[in-house]
Subunit: 140 residues, 2 copies
């Protein structure tokens, strides 16, 4: 069981502790649970978030910053918590993973290019400004 939690250090957290730790609202956490992105345990009524939930939430928030939808993120999350499944299932999972990886690499490369573009553009504006300053210096 390569990826299953043995739960040695399962320090659980309440919803409020989670909100403070990750800067999200309770609504968000309940929403993620409804969408099967998180699986907090229940103690009576109350939700208890495990280490696994925290790891998943971290990936969720990261994925969101990259512009992935929650549904895409859910698929990504499944890659990280495979558990003991059939090998055929795993092969399919790997295919999805390869797709996601390609997408992320493409995104990263585009982003790198965009950063360079923006840098270049800023440099032009900066040069323009400095020349204006020179003119102003000369005029004063």
């Amino acid at each position: 069981m390569l990826f299953s939690d043995t739960g040695m250090t399962d320090h659980v957290m309440t919803i409020r502790q989670m909100c403070d730790a990750f800067d999200v609202t309770p609504r968000t956490l309940r929403f993620y649970e409804a969408k099967e992105l998180l699986f907090p345990r229940r103690e009576g009524q109350k939700r208890l978030f495990t280490r696994r939930d925290r790891a998943r939430l971290k990936l969720i928030l990261r994925g969101k910053r990259f512009g992935f939808s929650l549904e895409e993120i859910r698929q990504l999350l499944d890659l990280y918590y495979v558990g003991d499944q059939q090998a055929t299932q795993l092969e399919a999972t790997l295919d999805i993973a390869r797709d996601r990886l390609r997408e992320m690499e493409r995104k990263r490369d585009e982003l790198t290019a965009a950063v360079d573009d923006l840098r270049h553009q800023m440099k032009m504006v900066e040069d323009m400004l400095s020349s204006v300053d020179t003119v102003k210096d000369a005029a004063e």
Copy 2:
């Protein structure tokens, strides 16, 4: 006028040509115009998209892939089409640009880390699968 189109090569395009070229719907282009992301000229009723519009649309679609909102993209676009403004305005513009740049760099770095993570995760699954195959080979 460092960034203004002189319009030498202003081959204009109809909305349909734009849609085919960029794989978007007419609705999307009109929507972007309404949100002041594009400024097609008018010939009577009809919209005519210039080289400038095409450049902007390219940046819009790129920005969307990065997970920026249209409003954020609009601010970014303004950086690329400064025109002849006051230097004080440009300084403020540069500040925004620096913020955006930092955000994009942070995103790029996170994405790079995520790509590495995913690669690592996939390798583990692949190893697991190959060991399963070995067992299967031995059993057959």
